[in-house]
Symmetry: none
Subunit: 92 residues, 4 copies
Amino acid sequence: MTDIGGISSNHLRQFIERIERLEEDKSVVSEDIREVYAEAKANGFDAKIMRQVIKLRKMDSAERSEGEVLLNLYLSALGMAEPVGSEEELNS
Amino acid sequence: MTDIGGISSNHLRQFIERIERLEEDKSVVSEDIREVYAEAKANGFDAKIMRQVIKLRKMDSAERSEGEVLLNLYLSALGMAEPVGSEEELNS
Amino acid sequence: MTDIGGISSNHLRQFIERIERLEEDKSVVSEDIREVYAEAKANGFDAKIMRQVIKLRKMDSAERSEGEVLLNLYLSALGMAEPVGSEEELNS
Amino acid sequence: MTDIGGISSNHLRQFIERIERLEEDKSVVSEDIREVYAEAKANGFDAKIMRQVIKLRKMDSAERSEGEVLLNLYLSALGMAEPVGSEEELNS
DNA sequence: AACGTTGAAATAGTTC
DNA sequence: GAACTATTTCAACGTT
């Protein structure tokens, strides 16, 4: 067999190569993104502002619900029942 | 036209949305990578060591030995013997 | 002199040891924090909720100003000067 | 008293504030550490290598050789000689 | 006590 | 080459 020190070389190699292929894919996508920014820049848009717009659009919904959880946390901390009556939000 | 202040909203929107789609692709690939690591772990492999292996394969020998030499230099300066020809400390 | 390979051993050693002392301080403070949580827990408080309260108190001012920056970014991107409206149009 | 729902607000507040003070201390120490690295860098030392040195000094030899052995095992399994003397076959 | 999850620190990469 | 940002890595924490 191809085992060395009790591990399967082939198995390990397959995992490693799958990851390397995926990493390659990821690099390609990253390159694509850079190209879109470059194209936008060539059309007069500011990449820095675009990045922040995208970041904030992504944060938006998450942040919003997190803010609502805050109130419930304070209420819980003070022993008051939260308005919706569930506790799962604490673990989100 | 939908221009405001000399900027085409539609044009900007298209760029933003193209990037957001690509970012989504990228997230998917990242998730795939995490899954492969998880699968490897479930098969008894150590993810941290695998990362080091992948990094070593990606690094060219030039920069690798460069860091190695410098580390040994520092260790020598501190009176610490270099750790018997191992390299994983370089990447940890 | 104590130079090895062109570097001053003493100088290097001093930097290393200063950092190691500071790292030790940091560990002590971390331990103190853990102890306060333990004490609070012994008094019936929920550490998890406390952590989130503290996190949110920390985020509070930062997040708020970031949200205001968002609007200005959009206005800038559209060539408009001053924040007048609300934030709802962000996801339209 | 200021108890609400059977919980002492003052007591909770005190715990929270003690923790926040300790977190602040911790941030100060972290900042100090960063400054020492910056100072070392200004004196020609390589911060990245210094971090490796500090990590090596902190690690006990047991866990060090453990990781070392495992890495070499994996490299062997992949047909990569551990890079003591020869480095060329790594990228093949 | 292993596991995943999360938050902080470090590194890499990009822009100016 | 310095600053800023993004990504990656690492360690702490709660959970099971």
